[in-house]
Each structure stands twice: as structure tokens, then as C-alpha cells.
Amino acid sequence: MKKYFIYLLFVSSLLAHPHTFIDVYPTIKIENGKAKKIQFIWKIDEMTSSILILDVDTDGDEKISSKENEFIKNNYFTIFEDYHFYTYIRVNGKVIPFPQTKNFKATIEKHRVCYKFEIEGDFNMKNTVIEVGDTDFYVALVIKQEFLNVQGMKAIATGVDNDFYYGYKVEFK
């Protein structure tokens, strides 16, 4: 099933337009304009989730055990390293290398597979913009204003057209 999933990724990169939709929920606690940690929750669309669940929820209980979590992390999550987790952190306009992800946890919520993970750093949020988007346009990542959970600064989510794909960005004021 993993190969089926990767095949969908591959074929769709040739037939580029979104086939998978991911709602991205960022959580950031900002103190004095700085954040030490950014947490993301990806909520994968129900149809794609059904394919994933077939392979990862081996006992069929609609819950992810620690063993299943490890399997998802190694087989379905780390593959996104090559895609920078579809996330670009711009500091003063320049994209910085995507930090190592930590505390990965997968869950199933209302038939949707969710990935929760964190990145750590010393982020000066005044100069920082978070962008999400898949350059191959296979995955459409969506950040709506109501998905944001930001404390300490005002955050605004807007759509970004990048010619070959459509993404979203979050700015802080």
C-alpha cells in the first residue's frame, strides 16, 4: 500500500494538480516577538486518509498505537523530508533550512489521519513568514485564518500564487 501511495505521488507529479488536500494548523507561542517552537498539525483529507488507514491501522481500531505511530513515521512521514515538509520558513525574505522535526504523533480524527510534529529554533517572528505549498502541486496544503493558534502576535493567513502551484503563507504583525 505504501508503494501505491508513492505511486500516486509520482504519477500525480506528472499530472500536476492537487489530488491530496492537507489542512495545516500551526500553533505558535510568541514571547517578546520570539518563538522557540512551532507546532504543526496536518489533517489529511478523508479519501487519502482511507488509503493510509488501510495500511497503517493494522488492528482496524481507528486508533494509532505507538507501534503504528513508529511505522507511519518511518514509512509515511520521513518521505516528506525530501519535500521540506512542504513548508518554507522565510527569515528576512530568505528561506532557512527546515529544522529537524520532533515529537511526531499520528492520530485518526473523524476518519482523517492527522500528523502532529514540532520544529525548534530561535525564530524572530517579526521577520518571519511561514509558507506552505507543494511545488509539484500534487498536494494542496491549506491554511485558513481559523486554523491559526498564535499567541503573542497578530497572525494573518493568505493565499500565494507561485505560478506552478498554489500555497498559503502566514505573516506576523
Partner: protein, 247 residues
């Protein structure tokens, strides 16, 4: 570019909403509401196919290039658009059902091989069509625009080239229906989605024919240049697709 950007945004938003709606509706299907809900699902699948095929891919470029490099009529564009979408949906159905009922245990091991072969066949066919179009353009130049009797072979080849790679969008819906045990709905949804996609692909062909007619009168007897460019682009498309399977 601003209009294009807005158009893209709408396109993604509609697909996002349709994707959610179709999933929720299929899941809500039960014995009591089966007929009306099934009809609603098929209606949404049609719309999803229509919008889905507007994005890049699904053979529109190939169809557009083919009709740019060939004098044809609108009926043929419709025929080809629907032939592509039928092959597209059929190949998605065969692949997806194959996973579950025929190759369930073997599939993990062999899937890469199967998908690569399908892609390579498609690429080789596209390259052949490109070469054929260039040859036809060269011949047409030689014969000074003398009317050529062309067979339908090249059109069928174009349809097969573009349609043989299964559509991941159709595969996802089919698989989702199978997982929930709605096998008939899986097949009907694929058909409904392909009707929507066929309409979009046909429009791409019709626009190309209209462009060809305009450009043809403008170029006054030198349409072979347009045909050669179209054929070369088809050839390039096939080459890139083939190289893609080698990575």
C-alpha cells in the same frame, strides 16, 4: 497574471470543497437514502471530474498540440476527449480493483514495475504520435497543401497515449468506495467523473481547432510550420514522460 492567480485559487478551492463533500456524502450512504444519495454522489463526481481536468495534465496539452498540428472538426475533438477520459477511467478502475481482488498479495512487490510499464507504454506512444505528426507536416509541405487522406489511427493512438496512465483522482474515489464496500458506486463514480473530464478535454481540443483555423488563414498556406511545431512539442512531451520513468 492576476486573473490567472485568482482562477487557480478558485480551482483549488472548488476541488478542496468537492473532495470533502464527496467523501462525507459517500460515508453517509446507507440503505434508507441510497438512491438519492447515490445520484447526488454521481452528480458531484461529474463536477469533480470537470473541475479536476481543468488543472494541468490529463492529456489536454497532448490533445491541444495534436489539433494545433492537424486540421480537424469539432466532432473529432469531442470524440477524442471522451475516448481519453474513458480509457483514463477504465485503466484507473482496472488498477484499483486489481489491488484488492487479483493482486492483493503480489501488488506491493510488483506495483512499481506495473506502473513504470504503463507510463513507458504511454510515453513511447506519445513519441510515436509526435514523429507521425512531424512526418505528416513534412509530407504536407512537400505536396504543397494538397489534401491528404488521413486515417483515424493517429487519433486513437493519441487517445491511448494520454489515457493509459490511470487518473489518481479517479483511483482515490474508487478506492474510497471499495473500502466502504460500495463496489457498484465505485464503478459508476469513475464513469461519472470521466464524463466530466471528457467534457473539459474536449473543450481543449475544440479551442485548439478554432486556433488552428484562425492561424491557418493568417499563415496562408504555411500551416505546415504550425504542424511541425505541434508535432515536435508532442515528441518532447513523450520524451520527458519517458525520462520521468527512468528516475
Amino acid at each position: 497574471m492576476e486573473y490567472y492567480s485568482q482562477f487557480m485559487q478558485y480551482l483549488v478551492s472548488y476541488q478542496y470543497e468537492l473532495n470533502r463533500y464527496i467523501a462525507t456524502t459517500i460515508r453517509s450512504l446507507d440503505d434508507e437514502n441510497s438512491l438519492m444519495t447515490s445520484l447526488a454522489i454521481l452528480g458531484i463526481a461529474f463536477l469533480y471530474g470537470l473541475v479536476h481536468a481543468i488543472g494541468p495534465g490529463h492529456g489536454k496539452a497532448l490533445v491541444a498540440l495534436y489539433f494545433t498540428s492537424n486540421k480537424s472538426d469539432y466532432k473529432k475533438a469531442f470524440k477524442m476527449g471522451y475516448l481519453i477520459s474513458i480509457i483514463h477511467a477504465f485503466s484507473a478502475l482496472v488498477f484499483t480493483f486489481g489491488i484488492f481482488f487479483i493482486l492483493k498479495t503480489m501488488f506491493r512487490r510488483n506495483f512499481d514495475q506495473f506502473s513504470d510499464i504503463a507510463m513507458q507504454i504511454s510515453a513511447v506512444m506519445i513519441i510515436s504520435v509526435g514523429m507521425y505528426l512531424i512526418y505528416e507536416a513534412y509530407k504536407s509541405r512537400k505536396e504543397k497543401e494538397k489534401k491528404l487522406i488521413k486515417s483515424n489511427k493517429s487519433e486513437t493512438a493519441v487517445a491511448f497515449s494520454a489515457g493509459i496512465v490511470p487518473c489518481p483522482g479517479v483511483m482515490t474515489i474508487v478506492l474510497f468506495c471499495i473500502v466502504l464496500g460500495h463496489y457498484t458506486l465505485a464503478i459508476l463514480s469513475a464513469i461519472s467523473m470521466s464524463i466530466g473530464m471528457g467534457l473539459t478535454i474536449s473543450v481543449a481540443g475544440i479551442l485548439s481547432i478554432a486556433f488552428n483555423k484562425k492561424a491557418g488563414s493568417f499563415m496562408d498556406g504555411k500551416t505546415y510550420i504550425l504542424e511541425m511545431i505541434g508535432g515536435s512539442l508532442v515528441l518532447l512531451l513523450g520524451t520527458f514522460l519517458f525520462l520521468g520513468t527512468m528516475r
